[in-house]
Amino acid sequence: MLLTLFGISVLIFTMLRLVPGNIADIVFNAAGMIDVAEKAKLEKELGLDKPIAAQYVQWVSGLVRGDLGYSYVSEKPAIQEILPRIPITAKLAGLALGFAVLFGVPLGVLSAVKQNSTLDYVLRVISLSGLSMPSFWLGLLVLMAFVAWFGTIPIYTDPPHGFWNTLALYCVPAAAVGFRSSALVMRLTRSSMLEVLRQDYIRTARAKGASDHNVNYHHALRNALLPVVTVIGIEAAFLMGGLIVTETVFNIPGVARFLVEAIRWRDYPIVQNLVMFIAVVAVSVNFFIDLLYAVLDPRIRYAS
């Protein structure tokens, strides 16, 4: 786990240094200045003149101490720029995952129990189209629907106050991102459920005279949900991709949109710290899912 994070830090850091043109170039080109001495001074100030290895050591040793460096653009400490944006994205991601589980699991079960019925076909086509639609397009369509019905767009301006206001503002973009996740969860629940329903112990339960309802929801579902837990975990980390475009569409000032802005501005301290943060979240989520799996499934007990 630590090795992976170390690898990610090296990868991201070297990749960002390969970019032709640093912040000094951007600032100077934008201002139309070509004063070499001034530019060298700015590069020295930002530490861009040191060898890459030295810059890397400086960054990582800072990370360990909790010092993320300064944003090139705002000149504020990077941590002050990043921290306040995290709860916004976290709320969105949490809501989106909520949608995914709330719709994905029951519809997946329904689809499996009624396998090859019209309902099953309809649900399968819907879930496949959910996986095919780019979430930013879905977001734009939602905005269009708002214009058509209400004449306005729910745009994030000030931080919302109170629980209901927050929920109202976040649930539309969260649904736009969560649609894809719920499609994924539904597909997996369906196939996992079908797999379990074919097993011997299900036949035994039916032979004993257990009701359909009992077999489907007590015997089968509990086992079928195990692989679903894994996918929800993976999806939690990969929601980030959908959030990047959705936060851009809905103009939400979360970390995901901030990453895109920082990349455009070549704001290295922000980009490398944000990617590191995303990787840490992804790696730890996977780690906890592994632990959870062992708790949920008594057949899997990691060798002590």
């Binding site: 690898g7 095919s132 780019p134 734009l140 369509l141 980030m240 475009v245 070549r266």
Partner: protein, 297 residues
Amino acid sequence: MASIDIVPTPAAEIERAEGIWSKILRHAGSHPLGVAGAGIMLVFVFAAVFADLITAYAPTTTNSAISLLPPGHGHPLGADAMGRDIYSRIVYGARISLAVGLGSTFLGSVLGVVLGLTSGYIGGWVDLIIQRVVDVLQAVPLLVLALVMAAALGPALDNTIVAIAVPLIPYTARVVRSNTLALREQPFVEAARAVGMSEFRIAVRHVLPNTLAPLIVIATAQLGAAILTEASLSFLALGVPEPHPSWGRMLSESAAEYVRVAPWLVIFPGLAISLAVFGTNLFGDALRDILDPRLRD
């Protein structure tokens, strides 16, 4: 000494005996959704190949007189703010989407196969190192890694292909590696070694063809993901640059401000992306059922 030609036939070649066309027809009958998917894909391939013949305007020709023209009046899907024909841009956009989708899937698969095959066949510390690299690539969400790579390489068509290909590597490498691990213990590999075949030749001629089925399944699934990722990158203006007519880019130009006044600018490019990916997914699902029932999810 004459070469010994008692080379064991890999399983993949024995199966070919049925005749590829009769096999395709047999499977097509039982997978109508897969056929529909293949049909959708063919439409897009047709559009990409014959774009010049089926459009009346060049995708980059601007005409201020028809700025934001609604659909109709000789422009079936309307025109954008610069007066460019949306239909032409979508048809030519198929070229970009398919080029980036196929290009990055192919590149990612080739690199994934090389890494997975080396890792699984050689094993030992080589395997250990390659697996750690794969872990690193897989730990960063696909779009995030593609974004950073695209920014590092700069906006260009071939750079976008590379930026999407690299995040796809770990998935292919994992599958090829686990298949290789199982295959290298098979009797036919031992037999090939017994007749004096070089290790390289065994890996490429005997092990690789047997991992082809799962490889094709993964590649088809990745094609859809690659098309979506290209659209997202271009939407964020970090993918295929102007003047290339990229579907994602068209949505970024038309984004929030045109939602009110020109909905056709939003609807059609998004529909093109969704349909192309939908077709690929339908086809991929059927292919997976046929080629590798174990991978069914």
